[in-house]
Symmetry: C2
Subunit: 334 residues, 2 copies
DNA sequence: TCGGGTTGTGCACACGTGTGAATAATGCAA
DNA sequence: TTGCATTATTCACACGTGTGCACAACCCGA
């Protein structure tokens, strides 16, 4: 396999197959000019020595590394963690390698992106990055393709893949109205992110269409404790149904409601992200699934396409979410 | 900054500074043979052009990439996600770049590690990897330093950093005995992982020392739903105190216990990992903190040391965990 | 002017690969 | 055998960097 810790180079393979180094390269690349006989001989030699090409050298020559930079903010958010895992898996299938950086401050993102550029990444994927502008500028300056996943406000000339938050809001409104709810609350997050606002708008518009409206609207940070506090204020106003911008918010609300209402008198609750929590028996939470599977697939494919053809114009894609109905919105007598 | 999409090379800097390329390289590297005058001239030119060295080329020349492979299994486990985030952050501080792969099957791990080797990583970090053997063999074959984090059974000649599960079990036993518990349960995980067993042993031995023992011992997979089922069986046997191998198990147990006991009659519960869940008000769970901060720091430092000096013998390190006391073990009348 | 030390730079090679152009080998018709 | 076309292989360079060694420049004392 290896000789005293040094990796085998294509030269050794050539030597063993009694042939020149270039022929080895072409044989492994499947160049049709190489005869079938020599090709099999080369393959045998390569297998015998356990030859694996040095991708660093190849990258230098090809001006393309196969490495994609991934910038992420907070892996403690299970939604981000799950998205990252899917991204990595998809990339593996497509022979791309993810160089991951955490940029949870503006300077952090700045530094991360600079290091990525130094490593000559073929493209950059930014996952729900609050520090878009630094990233966008750096990528434009280095003329590297950039794909924003799940955070895009339409103002910048880069590729982006996102979920249709508006449509999700509409679907939730329909669902809750069908359940017979009359008094609606929206529990938003993170001082009115674009995304949280879109969800609220879809919800609100559709409720109006049904002759209702949002009676209670509050927001808190996307963390359990502040949400738990805010939840009490919402509940004090006795809503029939609460649409939460996030599963964490929803779960905090249910925990806050349980001692007050018991299980029977609890309002309908709908979350967002369909995270693992939502499926837990005590919550059994109806939640909007963003279809991360599809979203990550598209993101990776776009990144790959742009990497191989950098002159392409930016692509924008919207993935349709779907509602996963569970116990928290089962029909009951309100 | 850039010229028509091509990165600036050191040649351009040399040209602008009216000087040879080698001098540029030396000036930027801080070679003392370069006069102060030319150095400042070079720095100015580099800054003006926004020069960033091409790390791929440098890697090829230096036979060292600064890239460390990280193999992880399941980012949906918040504990792993958190660990990965910390690893990435520490690596950033030390000018290392993480190439992350998910290996959640034996072949997956195999393929992941091969790709890492092709990218000439300086070292590999495996995070709680169940497929150790594939990884270990690949690293030995490629003679790349490997650091196992948080999973090591003492049988392999590689570096490893882990938590002192045994000591944790002891500390938990002391704590629960001090609270006056008499009837103890151990809620294990994942068909008796090494780690789960060590925790149980420490717990058991120390209980014996206090004149008690483990009265109930059960296990389930590390996921909420199976744990929720198993929890009922444990509770049916009326323990005073339950030590769970994992916060997820602990939380499932508390959820199962709440309808049966109410909050007052609930047994003492101790979890493991001190994850975000543990701090949620409804759980308020006493939990063992593995000191991931320290563990990841040490892991990264060891990886770096081994990368720069590959002949070093493997290092093994044990990090002391500590108990975070919360409401689930507050003194009460049993 | 010369010799010898010190200091600052430049030349040229190496890292391992891919690839265009040149060359050798082969086949076939004349 | 020679000429030409086709095929299989090799030569040599490029990618962008770091660095050993040679070399130029300079100062200073003789």
């Amino acid at each position: 396999m290896e000789r005293d810790g040094k990796r085998v180079r294509s030269f050794e393979v050539a030597e063993l197959a009694q042939i020149s180094r270039s022929t080895v390269s072409r044989a492994l690349a499947g160049d049709p000019r190489i005869s079938e006989a020599t090709r099999t001989r080369v393959l045998a030699a390569a297998a015998e020595l356990g030859y694996q090409p040095n991708l660093i050298a190849r990258s230098l020559k090809n001006q393309s590394t196969g490495i994609v930079g991934v910038v992420v903010t907070d892996l403690n958010n299970p939604y981000h963690a799950h998205a990252l895992q899917l991204l990595i898996e998809k990339m593996g299938t497509r022979r791309m390698a993810p160089l991951v950086f955490v940029g949870n401050t503006a300077e952090g993102a700045e530094r991360a992106i600079e290091r990525l550029m130094s490593y000559q990444v073929d493209a950059v994927i930014a996952l729900a990055a609050p520090f878009r502008h630094q990233i966008i500028n750096a990528c434009l300056a280095g003329s590297k393709p950039l794909v924003l996943m799940n955070r895009y406000d339409g103002s910048e000339p880069v590729s982006a893949v996102g979920g249709d938050s508006f449509a999700a809001g509409v679907a939730v409104a329909d669902h809750l109205v069908a359940r017979g709810a009359k008094r609606f609350a929206f529990f938003g997050g993170e001082d009115n992110t674009t995304i949280s606002r879109e969800r609220e708008q879809g919800f609100s518009l559709r409720l109006k269409h049904h002759g209702h409206g949002i009676d209670i609207a509050m927001a808190s940070r996307y963390a359990y404790e502040p949400a738990f506090e805010t939840a009490h204020e919402i509940l004090r106003q006795k809503p029939d149904a609460v649409f939460c911008a996030n599963d964490t918010l929803a779960v905090a609300l249910m925990d806050a409601a349980r001692p007050m209402h018991g299980t029977s008198g609890m309002p309908f609750v709908v979350g967002y992200d369909n995270s693992a929590l939502a499926a837990w028996p005590i919550y059994n939470l109806t939640s909007v699934d963003q279809n991360l599977e599809e979203m990550t697939t598209q993101t990776v494919d776009i990144a790959r396409a742009l990497a191989s053809e950098p002159s392409r114009p930016p692509v924008r894609l919207t993935i349709e979410p779907f509602l996963v109905e569970r116990g928290s919105t089962l029909p009951r007598n309100l």
